[in-house]
Amino acid sequence: MSANSSLLSVQNVTVRFGGLTAVKDVSIEVAKGSITAVIGPNGAGKTTLFNAITGVYEPTEGSVLVSGRDPQRSLTKAVIAGAVSTGLATGLFLCLLVRVEVIWRASIIDLYVFQQPFPWMKSIGVFVATLFGGGIVGTWLPLVLGVVLGISGRMVIWSRTRRTPDVVASAGVARTFQNIRLFPELSLIENVTVGMDRRLNSGFIAALFALPSALHERSAARTDAMKLLQFVGLANKSEEAAGNLPYGYQRQLEIARALASRPDVILLDEPAAGMNPTETVDLMRLIKTIRDAGTTVVLIEHHMRVVMGISDRIAVLQYGEKIAEGTPLEIKHDPRCIEAYLGKEELG
């Protein structure tokens, strides 16, 4: 399968923690509009794989493509310009800081006669002359030091945040967590609205003065959030605190929050964990509806009924390696999968 036809393409991803290899050379292609399940025994590296995809961990080797592109902050002109201007600002600031009293005396105190008009232009001239007139130690050393410090600081931050979860999320990948991570003290509707954040664009000034643009955006976002809560069946609890919800509802709220960003692909980490059989059936229906609405689904799950019931394709992990991939029927009869789950039959 080529990278073009698949929405999410995991290519030879390896994740190592020191000497431990949690995920080893795993490749998975997720077709657009499909439901793909990742299964395997506990500790097989499923969640680590999800974390590598969403940017929580940096893959040690390999890459993850979303719609054929690697979601990364690339080295654009804006990044370089930002680094250079930070460097210059830091340099000038350091320059000013090391001789601030000298500069102050020359450009302000010496020129100001009490209650007389102040010669502003002359002062600025003196200021610049003094700022750059400190010789090697007074001017150029701090300037160069500041420029180096500023540029390298910005570049280090850039290189460390090239593929953070927010970058991956902005590329259209949303997720839920195995150990639920809601915002417990926010109401349900606020939780979902946070999920919408990457679609909102009202700025600081509009927010500060509650300008109509910000207020409209807010009410539109809340209407959207309400629809999503209706979709997962939580609309009647919209103003409750998320932390007070029963466990099963919390999982559904997480799904609603992940959907709020209108992702291309949603990763569900054990969505049916802790659910009773009725809730599980509801969940299967929900996942199918999500897929039918055009969002590709990847899920980790242990409930075989869920996995076999809704998946188009299944990948099986064991000890960090992919040991099989195929349709539910193929997986059901794959001897390696049976072995991984049930153990090897003793012969003789």
Partner: protein
Amino acid sequence: MAAATSRFSLFSKGQLVVLGLLASTPLIDVAMPTLRLSAPMRTVVTSAIIALGLNIVVGWTGLLNLGIAAFAALGAYAFGILTCEIYPFQVGFWWGVLLAGAVGAFAGWLLGAPTLRLRGDYLAIVTLGFGEIVQDGLKNLEAITKGTQGINPLPAPSLPGIEFSSETPVRWFYAYLAILAVVVFLCRNLEFSRLGRQWFAVREDELAARCMGIQPDKAKLKAFAIGAALAAVGGALIASQLSSTGEPANYDFQMSILALCIVIVGGIGSITGVMVGAIVMVGLNNVVLPIATQSLQNAGIGSTENVLTSPDNYKFLLFGLALVLMMRYRPDGIIHSGKAVRK
């Protein structure tokens, strides 16, 4: 949905009640002119502004800042340098306050940009250290800050046709109260904005917020800078009230801790709560106790020699008691922030 519609009013009910309460304190002055309440009540207002700034950082974004006094100091000195007649700028009261806020925001941004990636305790230590550095820096830059003398005299608020002086504490108090009302209005807008939502999300679960596409570093930096700006405005108002920046040691760790106590006792995360906290803590400290001491002395019961009959001495006893009782009976503060009911 009541919550959504009430957003379009300027203030919440609780905020209106507290602002109204503050606005009616000069009435006590009318009834009992000897108390001279309005003058010390200004300190309640300035403390409330600083604590509201701290509330954005600590209460909403969940970052422990132990150096908020440093930003108040920078605001006070910026106001002093920009308005005092010993320097050529002399921009006047209102521009002075605004520019002090800008200087505070810049300082907050400067401190935050490299350090906000630190977590929890480490950030607290950095802010603590910054508080000490600023004090020492201001003390030693004598050519600019006049060292321990402080920059003075500084202007009072000014409005066309209205005169402000130490003879008219009521007017002056109302001018400060108006500034507080503007600060409350802006804080409330932010609380219900997209940025506010980002702050809350980062406080509740940074990784989850990140996975929703939010950049926690940027949200934190904005919180830090805005909090610093408000603290600087508070510092500028203090300087104007004293007509001097005072000495740098006035803006010490104790001031930071007092602001933190106001936020915690009043109700962390709640604008109304923080204002109530300022009224309770600073009101006790600067208004009730001095007046009680004075009246006991006037009645001939207390004297400065007798420690027991001079309520002023109970200040820290009462502070400690208040904190212990609060933590025991109302750990969320006097006014519950309604974090859980944030709708």
